[in-house]
């Protein structure tokens, strides 16, 4: 049990896929214009990552080594298609916003990397814990980046359809933060800040 907790926790801080491993940057930069977008993208990734880890771990004795990558991709693509259809049906507004980045979860490096590095070598419960942990770590990172961008870009935070700061903060919103350049700059400064904090701890 302790081991499962450790596998789960590993993805959240020690090996956070976004801040530590720098994997899957495209959706991280693209959908973090608002907290809600980041959150739903994270949910989609948690689902795909956990399910594909479980299936890949379960079928790993039957997959020949040479063709393992195509097999992983088909498993991942299947779950991505499920997410795509479900979101289209139940969250049409969010589906429009996330757009092309939902089908592109297939080629998100985190998912293939976890399949190859972890799920194809470990039993099902550990693979599930790893997938869940990595997914949650990814979601946390997306929400943090989105919060910074939304706050600076619009002067307010909208959580579950409600604005947190009423009429907004008394700052001039910097529109650039929710435009593409803001994504790169926020991410760069956050990584720099994390490096600084990490150094102090040591």
């Amino acid at each position: 049990m302790g081991r499962l907790v450790k596998d789960f926790y590993n993805g959240i801080l020690p090996e956070n896929p976004v801040f530590r491993l720098l994997l899957g940057m495209c959706p991280v930069l693209a959908v973090t214009t608002a907290v809600a977008n980041g959150f739903w993208m994270g949910m989609a990734v948690i689902f795909v990552l956990t399910c594909s880890n479980v299936i890949i771990s379960a079928v790993r004795p039957f997959i020949p080594r040479q063709i393992r990558i195509p097999c992983f991709i088909v498993v991942i693509a299947t779950f991505v298609t499920i997410v795509d259809l479900v979101m289209h049906a139940f969250l049409p507004g969010m589906y429009e916003i996330l757009g092309i980045f939902i089908p592109l979860i297939v080629v998100n490096c985190i998912i293939l990397a976890r399949a190859e590095a972890f799920a194809s070598r470990n039993p099902v419960p550990r693979a599930a814990a790893d997938g869940l942990g990595m997914g949650v770590g990814f979601t946390v990172a997306l929400v943090v980046i989105a919060a910074v961008r939304e706050l600076l870009g619009t002067g307010n935070l909208v959580v579950a359809g409600r604005a947190l700061f009423g009429a907004g903060l008394p700052i001039d919103p910097a529109l650039v933060m929710i435009l593409p350049p803001g994504a790169f700059i926020t991410m760069g400064i956050l990584l720099g800040a994390l490096n600084l904090v990490g150094k102090k701890k040591e």
Binding site: L22, T81, P103, V107, I185
Partner: protein, 196 residues
């Protein structure tokens, strides 16, 4: 005129890296040197153009008539993965020098979301076959332009005095952000040319 719009749009205005956020992993990963960036660019331009040409009939002649559009993602990724493998084998046989130059980049392209992204965008924009191929080519050229420019800056960054916590990826991302701001300028160009 229509093709001019697609090409300008793909290369400058809706640049894959700076405004659509596609293909960021290889953009950050293989931009240490201008030379490797060029190699990767050539490989991407080639694969993306061919992938646009192949995924169009797969969707419009196979998936769409059969009413199984929901298999799009699975079908496209399989086509692209096998295309990359195929290109690698053919290149090795036909032009060993080209293979030597591009060989190591080819397998990386399967996980380049720009290729799948271009294929899906072609379907969403309901392009005709020729438009789709031109769009794939233009988007790839835009991606190549971005990575080669970026690699040039990055080579100089190695010599610059960057604050310790920002060294490596943080400064690379901030640089990309600044480049992205400058690419924003091209949006005005489009208005000047086409919206009179």
């Amino acid at each position: 005129m229509e093709f001019v719009a697609i090409i300008l749009g793909g290369v400058l205005i809706n640049n894959f890296v700076f405004s659509r956020f596609l293909g960021i992993c290889p953009f950050l990963g293989v931009s240490q040197k201008v030379e490797t960036a060029m190699g990767m660019s050539m490989a991407v331009i080639f694969v993306m153009t061919v992938a646009s040409a192949i995924t169009w009939p797969v969707y419009h002649l196979l998936l769409d008539p059969l009413g199984i559009e929901y298999l799009r993602t699975v079908a496209f990724i399989l086509v692209i993965a096998s295309l990359v493998q195929f290109v690698e084998i053919v290149m090795q046989k036909v032009s060993p020098t080209l293979y030597q130059a591009l060989g190591i980049y080819l397998p990386l392209i399967t996980t380049n979301c720009a290729v799948l992204g271009a294929a899906i965008l072609n379907v969403q924009a309901e392009y005709t076959f020729i438009q789709a191929v031109v769009n794939g080519l233009a988007a790839a050229v835009g991606w190549a332009l971005a990575i080669v420019l970026f690699a040039g800056i990055r080579e100089r960054l190695d010599l610059a005095d960057v604050p310790r916590p920002l060294q490596g990826f943080p400064i690379a991302l901030i640089t990309t952000g600044l480049m992205s701001i400058s690419f924003f300028g091209f949006q005005g160009l489009f208005k000047q040319l086409f919206v009179r």
